[in-house]
Amino acid sequence: MNKLNFLQTDKNNLNTYLYTGVILVVLSIFIVFLNSFFNKDIISFLPGSISFFLPLILGFIGLHLIRIDYSSLKLLDSINKNINTNNFNAFLSLLIVFAVIKSLPPLLSWFIFDANIAGDSKDVCTGSGACWTYIKIWFNRFMYGMYPNAEQWRINLSFIALAFLGTIGFFATEKFKKYLTLYYVVVYPVIAFFFIFFFISGGPIFFDFSYGIIAAVISVIIGFFIPSKFKMYYFIIVPITLYILLKYVFFYEELIELGKLEALEWVETGAWGGLSLTFIVSFFCLIFCFPIGLFLSLGRRSDFPIIKYFSIGMIEFWRGVPLITVLFMSSVMFPMFLPEDMFIDKLVRVIIAISLFEAAYVAEVIRGGLQALPRGQYDAAKSLGMGYWKMHILVILPQALKLVIPGIANTFLALVKDTPLIFVVGLLEIVGMLNLAKTNPEWLGFAMEGYVFASVLFFIICYAMSKYSYNLEQKYKTER
C-alpha cells in the first residue's frame, strides 16, 4: 500500500480517497437535508458558528479528496470536470447545492403543502402557504377583465378560431404553399382584425361582420366552380357585391324583425381586460409594427433626402422617449389634436401608439440586417434589371429578414412585456386586474399569489416565444 497523502490525492489509493470523500460529501448534504426538511439539527452539540459551517467544511474536504484526475471511473471524472475542477469551484458548487436544499422546503410548502385551493371564500385560507383559492375565484377576471361572464365564449371562440387559422400553414398543400406569406402578412391580420373588432365588441356592427362571413362563405363555395382564369377578379368582386346585397337588399329589416339573428351584446373596449387583452394588444401591435418598421428601415436607407430624414426623425423620436410618456401623450395630449366631435377609441389609440413605438425598434433591427448584406447582392439584382421594389422583395429582404430573426423576436418579446403599461390610459390587462383585485376589501393581502401567478404566465409565454424564435433561426440558417 502506498503512502496516503490527503493533501495531494492520486490514483494509487483511489478507493481510500473515494470512500472517505464520498462519505464526507454525503454526510454534509445529509446534515443540511435533515436540517431543512425535518428541522433537526444533529450537530447542535457543537458551538454555534462551527455547527453552522461544519457541513460546508466537511463537503469541501470531501470534494477535495475525490478530485482525482483520470480515475477511469466515468461518473467521478464527469463530476470532477463539471462541478469540482478546483477548490474555488468546489466551494461554489457546495454553496449552490446547500442553497437549493435550504430553499426547497419553504418554497414547496408555500406553493403546495400549506397552500389552499378548495372552497370559494377567503376563510379557507388559514395556512401559512399560498391561497390559490384567490386565483381560482378571480380567474375569470384575470383572463377576461370586466367582460360579462355570459359573453366570454365570444373571446374563447375568436381565439380558438384565430389559433386554428394561424396553424393552417402546417396543413397547407403544395399548391397553396406559395401563397402562405401573402396569407400570413395580409389575409390573416385582416381576418383577425374583423374577428376581434366585430365579434368581441358585438353590438350593431356585428351585423356587418355576420353579413361579411355569409358573403365570404357563399363566395368560397361558388369559387370552386369558377375557372382559375377569372378567380382573381371573382374573389374581389363577388364577396363585396354579395355583402352589399345581403346588407341593403335582402335581409336587413326582416332578419332583425323576425328575431332570427339577434345582435350580440355590445361590450365597450373599456370592459375588455385580463390576459385576453394582453393577447389582443400584443397581437395587433405585432401585426402593425412590422410593416411600419419595414418601411421606416427602407426609408432610412433611401436615396431621397426628404424620405430619409423623415424616417430618421421618426425612428429617433420614438426610440428616444419612454413608452409610458407615449401612452401619456396618446391619452392626454392626443385628444387635443382632434376635432371636438371626433373620438377615437382608447384601445385603438393605445394600439396605434405602441405600434409606432415598437416600429422604430423593428426598423433599427431590420436596418442591421440590410447593412449586413454585401453590396454585391444589390449590384447583382440591379444588373438583372430589377427595379427598387422587385429587388427588395425578391432578393434583399428575404436575406436580410433571415439574418435579423433573433433581433425581431427580441423586439416582439419586449412588446409583449410592455403591454401591462396600458394601465396608464385605464385599460386593465392582467397586471392591472391584479392590482384592482388586490385592493378589493374582501380579498386584501393576497398580492403575492397574484403576482406569482402572473409571473408564471408571462414566463411561459415569453420563454415559449424565445424558444420558438431560436428554432426559426436554426431552421432558416444558411451558410454564406
Binding site: V321, I324, T325, M329, P420, L421, V431, A447, Y451, Y463
Partner: protein, 381 residues
C-alpha cells in the same frame, strides 16, 4: 432630377404637412374653446403641491420649474443606483455564465431566463406590493449590523455629518487628477524605456493618502448619525436621523437592476466569447502572464464588443425608470407629467417638455456612442 425622384418626396412632404396642419389647427381650436393660451410661462408659477421625496428642498411655494427639477433629480438618482447595481450583478452573472462549473453556469442561466422573461412592471409591483410589504414595522425591526433598519416604511441607513466637506472633495479630485498624470507618464515611460510602473498600487495609495491628509490637516471631520426610533403616536413609530430610502425607491431600483442585469450579463458573455481563442494563445505564446493576457489582450477586445450594447441598456434602464409612476415614486413622469399636468391642464407643453428631456438624453448618448464606436473601431489596413 426627374419626376420619378421628386414625386414620392413631394407626396411624403405633403402628407406630413397635412397631418401636422390638421393637428395644430385642431389644437388651436380646442385650446381657444377651453380658454388656454399656449406658452411656457406657467413654469414660473407657484406649484402648490407637495412631493414626498426630493433631493432638493421643495414645497407648495416653489415653482413648477422646480417641480420639474425635483422629478428630474429623482429620475437621475434611481437611474444611477440602478445602473451601478445592474452593472455589478450583470458582470458577475455574465462571467458566471462562462464558468465551466455546470452548477454555476446553470444557476446564472436560470436567473437570466427567469428575470428577462417577466415584464418589468410586474417585477416592480412584486417588490413593492408583495415583497417589501412583508417587512416588519419600525418598532419590530431587528437592526442589521446594528445601524441599518429595513422596515416596511423604508430603509433607514446612517448618514455622515461632514465638516468642511468641500476640502475632502477637493482632495479626492486632486488624487484623481494626479492619477491621470501618473498614468500618462507611465505610458510614456513604457513606450520609451520599456519599464512598467505599478500604476494600480500607486493610484490606490494616492486615493487613500490624500483624503487621509485632508482629515489630519484640512480640518475635515465626519461623524456618523445613526437612525433612532421615535414614537409618533400610540402605535406609529418611525426612525429619525440618518437617511431614509423610501420603499418606492428600493423596489424600483431593485427591479430595474435585476431586470437590466440580465441583459448586461448577456452582453458581457457575448463580449468575452467574441474574443477568439487564437488571441489568447498568441498572447500566451509571446510570453505574457495569464494576468497580462487578460489585461492587455482579452479585456480591450472584449470591452470593444461589450460597451456599445451595455450603454444601450443603461439608456433603456433610464427610460424604464419612468415606470416609477406606477408605484408613486416621484420621478419626472409622476411629478411633472402627472401631478403638474393635472393641476395646470397644459397637456401639450408638459408632455412635450417631458418627452424632450428623455429625447435629448438619449440622442446625446447615441451621438456620444457613435463617436466612441468610431474611435475604438479596429483600424484595418
Amino acid at each position: 432630377m426627374n419626376i420619378k425622384k421628386i414625386l414620392p418626396q413631394l407626396l411624403t412632404l405633403l402628407v406630413v404637412i397635412l397631418i401636422f396642419g390638421f393637428f395644430s389647427y385642431n389644437a388651436q381650436v380646442n385650446m381657444e374653446n377651453r380658454g388656454i393660451t399656449f406658452g411656457y410661462g406657467f413654469l414660473s408659477q407657484e406649484s402648490s403641491f407637495d412631493v414626498q421625496f426630493s433631493l432638493i428642498e421643495f414645497d407648495g411655494s416653489h415653482s413648477y420649474f422646480r417641480a420639474y427639477l425635483v422629478g428630474l433629480l429623482n429620475t437621475i438618482l434611481v437611474s444611477v443606483i440602478g445602473i451601478i447595481f445592474a452593472t455589478i450583478i450583470g458582470v458577475v452573472v455574465g462571467i458566471a455564465r462562462l464558468s465551466n462549473n455546470y452548477l454555476i453556469n446553470r444557476t446564472a442561466g436560470v436567473y437570466v431566463e427567469f428575470f428577462r422573461n417577466i415584464p418589468l412592471l410586474l417585477q416592480i409591483f412584486f417588490w413593492y406590493f408583495a415583497a417589501l410589504r412583508a417587512l416588519p414595522l419600525p418598532q419590530d425591526t431587528e437592526p442589521m449590523f446594528g445601524v441599518f433598519f429595513l422596515t416596511i416604511k423604508g430603509f433607514f441607513v446612517p448618514a455622515f455629518v461632514w465638516n468642511n466637506l468641500d476640502i475632502f472633495i477637493y482632495s479626492i479630485i486632486a488624487a484623481i487628477i494626479s492619477i491621470i498624470f501618473i498614468k500618462i507618464y507611465a505610458r510614456k515611460k513604457q513606450e520609451n524605456e520599456g519599464i512598467q510602473t505599478p500604476v494600480l498600487s500607486i493610484s490606490i495609495g494616492l486615493l487613500i493618502i490624500l483624503p487621509l491628509l485632508s482629515f489630519l490637516f484640512g480640518g475635515v471631520d465626519a461623524s456618523v448619525e445613526v437612525p433612532v426610533i421615535k414614537q409618533l403616536s400610540q402605535s406609529g413609530f418611525t426612525y429619525e436621523g440618518g437617511i431614509k430610502l423610501p420603499p418606492e425607491l428600493i423596489s424600483l431600483a431593485l427591479a430595474l437592476s435585476l431586470y437590466t442585469a440580465t441583459f448586461i450579463a448577456e452582453c458581457v458573455r457575448a463580449g468575452v466569447q467574441g474574443v477568439s481563442k487564437g488571441q489568447k494563445e498568441a498572447a500566451a505564446s509571446i510570453g505574457l502572464t495569464p494576468n497580462q493576457v487578460l489585461k492587455l489582450v482579452v479585456m480591450p477586445q472584449a470591452l470593444r464588443i461589450i460597451i456599445p450594447p451595455t450603454t444601450n441598456q443603461y439608456l433603456n434602464l433610464t427610460k424604464n425608470s419612468s415606470l416609477a409612476a406606477a408605484i408613486a415614486y416621484p420621478d419626472l413622469v409622476l411629478v411633472f407629467a402627472g401631478t403638474a399636468l393635472m393641476q395646470t391642464g397644459r397637456a401639450i407643453e408638459i408632455v412635450s417638455i417631458t418627452m424632450f428631456t428623455y429625447l435629448s438624453l438619449s440622442i446625446s448618448i447615441s451621438i456620444f456612442m457613435n463617436w466612441y464606436n468610431k474611435k475604438i473601431a479596429i483600424k484595418e489596413k
